[in-house]
């Protein structure tokens, strides 16, 4: 159970945790309840048939979606009822379609706590019913997406997960946010508002009008959401921690175009800003395309999941400088990253773990860049093609990030430069959550790799000799010319 696998067997949930309250309301209010080594991370009602979707995280913080349904639809008071549920793994290892493990579990629960649950479920349903009526006409469903997904860019399942993930800290603070009509905002309202703000690219006033509140509320709720997501969701954005996880990543990269032992693709993008007149004189933010921008450097896995990000540096800095200033660089240089076992290509030829990046990065033993120059020999040009195809995931990930979370896509109007990096981080976490949840929204999005249109590629001529040799060996290996 603690290793990230699905729990098995029969679990009894004691009444001391649930008391006389309904399951659903309790799960929302107390988002972390111990349960036989598991933590129930919150839940939201899933329908009038008295079923629940509950998100449970084990100690490795691997989210598991559990659908619970009440076996006895009308249990007498005091009776022990059984919830039958299915665990659907939403592990951080990423979606492996067709390999979903569904295991049957049973939860026994004090009947008293169940009786009132119906209203809570219905309340949850009512939220969207009511909300969709409110916004009727203002949003037309996009191609392939239902209205919910069009509005929030996530599926209902992912929305529920996000609510459960952040419910406790989000609702713990005393500030009460209200609509213009004086009605206070529920957790769903706040999450919806923040997601809308981050995903629509609309202005504060635009989002405020959409929700029927004022723009300062939009700003405050969004910022609280960002802070809370950082606090509770950062485990969705982390470097692979186990060998098994890394092995899967390598395997997937190798499946793309054959690059062996590759652990990630690195790329950099610019988040553009329109600064105030006084700030425009600070040319440190002025990038090579004469835009004011902030840099986001990301290392991406083959599922387009961000594994490491660095952001906040001004646009004037080039890719190599940002890399050099990053902790990832330090760790890799010290042999504390990309230090897994070397892969034997042939007798006496090994290749260490590495990431791939474009020519804006230096060629290093752990960062392989393409060959530069024109009229390259076939071996090298073939290597470059494979290299490009492999690192395309990073470009696509950044393109999708900007395409879905449009707040950071366009030119931001006078952003707070100390808050913007954190908004970017929140968007990256949301991007990863959507992938981790195997959200169907992903399938409907078109793939593009244009995330920094208009920026010419940089060229960094720095190269390490050993890395150069490794790249030559890889090129030979990929062309089948490496002597055995």
């Amino acid at each position: 159970m603690e290793d990230g696998g699905s729990p098995e067997g029969r679990y009894t949930v004691g009444s001391r945790w649930f008391g006389r309250r309904s399951l659903a309301s309790l799960l929302i209010e107390e988002s972390l309840v111990k349960c036989d080594g598991l933590e129930i991370g919150g839940g939201v009602g899933g329908g009038r048939e008295k079923s629940f979707q509950v998100f449970i995280t084990n100690k490795s913080l691997i989210p598991l979606l559990v659908t619970l349904s009440l076996s006895n639809t009308n249990p007498p008071p005091g009776h022990i009822v059984t919830f039958v549920g299915f665990f659907q793994s939403c592990s951080l290892m990423g979606p492996i379609r067709g390999n979903k493990k569904k295991r049957k579990i049973e939860l026994k629960i004090d009947n008293e706590s169940v009786l009132a649950s119906g209203s809570s479920e219905e309340g949850s349903i009512d939220w969207w019913d009511e909300f969709s009526k409110r916004i009727a006409g203002s949003v037309s469903p996009s191609k392939g997406l239902d209205q919910f997904e069009s509005v929030f860019k996530v599926s209902r399942k992912t929305f529920n997960y996000i609510c459960s993930l952040i419910s406790e800290p989000m609702m713990a603070k005393t500030t009460n946010f209200v609509f213009l009509n004086g009605k206070s905002m529920s957790l769903n309202d706040q999450v919806a508002l923040a997601l809308r703000r981050l995903s629509s690219g609309d202005s504060l006033i635009g989002v405020a009008n959409f929700f029927g509140t004022n723009h300062s509320t939009v700003s405050q709720v969004t910022w609280r959401f960002v802070e809370t997501l950082e606090e509770r969701g950062l485990h969705h954005l982390q470097w692979p921690s186990t060998e098994q996880e890394m092995a899967q990543i390598k395997s997937k990269f190798e499946n793309i175009r054959g690059l062996p032992n590759c652990c990630g693709a690195i790329d950099t993008t610019h988040i553009m800003m329109l600064l105030s007149t006084s700030e425009r004189t600070i040319d440190v933010w002025l990038d090579r395309k004469d835009n004011h921008s902030m840099i986001l450097q990301a290392i991406v896995d083959p599922d387009m999941r961000f594994r490491d990000i660095v952001t906040g540096w001004p646009g004037k800095m080039d890719d190599a400088s940002v890399l050099q200033g990053s902790s990832f660089f330090d760790l890799a240089e010290k042999g504390e990253r990309l230090n897994g076992k070397k892969l034997k290509l042939s007798e006496g030829t090994e290749v260490q773990e590495y990431v791939v990046g474009d020519s804006g990065f230096p060629l290093l033993p752990w960062l392989i860049t393409p060959y530069q120059g024109r009229d390259l020999p076939e071996t090298k040009s073939e290597f470059n093609k494979r290299h490009f195809a492999t690192r395309l995931v990073a470009q696509r990930a950044l393109a999708r990030l900007k395409d879905v979370w449009r707040m950071i896509q366009g030119v931001m109007w006078r952003p707070d430069k100390h808050r913007l990096p954190r908004v970017i981080l929140a968007c990256c976490i949301l991007h990863n959550i959507v992938i981790d949840m195997e959200d169907d929204v992903l399938d409907e999005l078109t793939l593009t790799h244009q995330h920094d249109s208009g920026y010419r590629p940089e060229v960094c001529e720095t190269a390490d000799k050993n890395a150069s040799i490794s790249r030559d060996k890889l090129a030979l290996y990929l062309s089948g010319r490496l002597p055995a």
Binding site: R288, G325, K417, E458, A463, K465, S468
Partner: protein, 342 residues
């Protein structure tokens, strides 16, 4: 302008030269009073013969000499490069001007061979690292050579601090998910293509972060870390202030703190690979120093320029690569591209 009573530079100039430092003195007064203290022989001998003999013959020679002296001082101050007066005064000033040049550039093998020549050539009394002066920065072709010299200067005076005057400062919030404390307040110093990063302490951090940090400290019970924290904050305030005794004292204190942290000598510290708390003082490692021998002739480029700056001084140099190192893929120099894009 020169006669402005409240000129800061004049005030500093006076105090550095040991001239009477009075608010009631104007430039004229200053010149007439102070000239007699300077040995005229020294001034005359050291002046470039092709420039000033005519002036010295004039009746008001004294005043002219005074002006020359001021010009010399100004040329030193702003690196105009016209005056080569190697007077006693200048030597004195040199100490004030650039006590601790801290530029770090790693050279390649071929670079290293050239260094002694360059050093001899440029071993003028000017203590300023050349690339820091506007004059030298204009000379793009000479930049490489200057960097080589800079490297040597840096090596010799590694124990000293960066002179951050003339650097633009930008406060940035940086997210870096590679470390558990993923959010940092940094002070970014920039001068042309040279970037330095310093920690920004005790400001702008969320209360929760402070709590976390406190918790960490308390949990570890690590007195050493606490000391470091103090060091960092003192470093920051030291950077923020204009020179002076206060700054020196703080830097001394900083050094003391560092020595309490590291037992090894400073050279070892610079190459230390021990993991430091990122928020306290980033270990700055000359990442490619060790690998330089391996570099091929074709690909020789100095790259990783991180260097320990006085142990705990939380300022690092990110980059001082000549602009030619980064260019557009089309091979067009960056500056040209920029103008084209406009």
């Amino acid at each position: 302008m020169l006669c402005s009573k409240s000129s800061k530079w004049l005030h500093r100039l006076r105090s550095s030269r040991g001239f009477p430092d009075s608010d009631h003195i104007n430039l004229e007064h200053f010149l007439s009073n102070s000239l007699h203290k300077i040995d005229p022989q020294t001034s005359t001998d050291s002046a470039p013969p092709d420039k000033r003999p005519r002036l010295e013959k004039r009746d008001d020679g004294e005043a002219i000499q005074g002006r020359d002296m001021i010009n010399n001082a100004l040329s030193e101050l702003f690196q105009m490069g016209e005056f080569q007066d190697k007077s006693r005064i200048k030597r004195k000033k040199s100490c004030r001007k650039q006590q601790c040049p801290r530029i770090c550039v790693l050279s390649t093998n071929s670079d290293a061979q050239d260094v002694p020549v360059q050093k001899d050539k440029d071993s003028s009394p000017s203590p300023l690292p050349l690339p820091l002066t506007p004059n030298n920065r204009r000379k793009g072709k000479e930049l490489n050579q200057e960097l080589k010299v800079k490297e040597r200067v840096e090596e010799e005076e590694e124990k000293c601090h960066w002179d951050l005057s003339g650097y633009s400062q930008t406060e940035v919030t940086v997210i870096d998910t590679s470390v558990p404390s993923w959010k940092f307040e940094k002070m970014l110093y920039r001068r042309k293509n040279v970037w330095k990063v310093g920690d920004k302490k005790g400001k702008g951090l969320m209360s929760s972060d402070r709590k976390k940090r406190k918790e960490i400290l308390n949990e570890n019970g690590d007195v050493r870390k606490k000391k470091l924290k103090l060091c960092s904050s003192s470093s920051k305030s030291g950077d923020a202030e204009e020179g002076g005794l206060k700054k020196k004292k703080k830097k001394k204190r900083l050094k003391a703190c560092n020595s309490s942290k590291y037992v090894e000598n400073e050279e070892a510290i610079a190459r230390s690979k021990s993991t430091q708390g990122h928020e306290h003082c980033k270990t700055m490692v000359a990442a490619y120093e060790k690998k330089q021998d391996n570099c091929s002739q074709v690909q020789e480029k100095s790259f990783s320029l991180k260097k320990q700056i006085d142990g705990g001084s939380s300022v690092i140099l990110i980059k001082s690569i000549p602009p030619t190192n980064k260019k557009d893929s089309s091979g067009i120099p960056k500056s040209n591209v920029k103008s084209m894009q406009k």
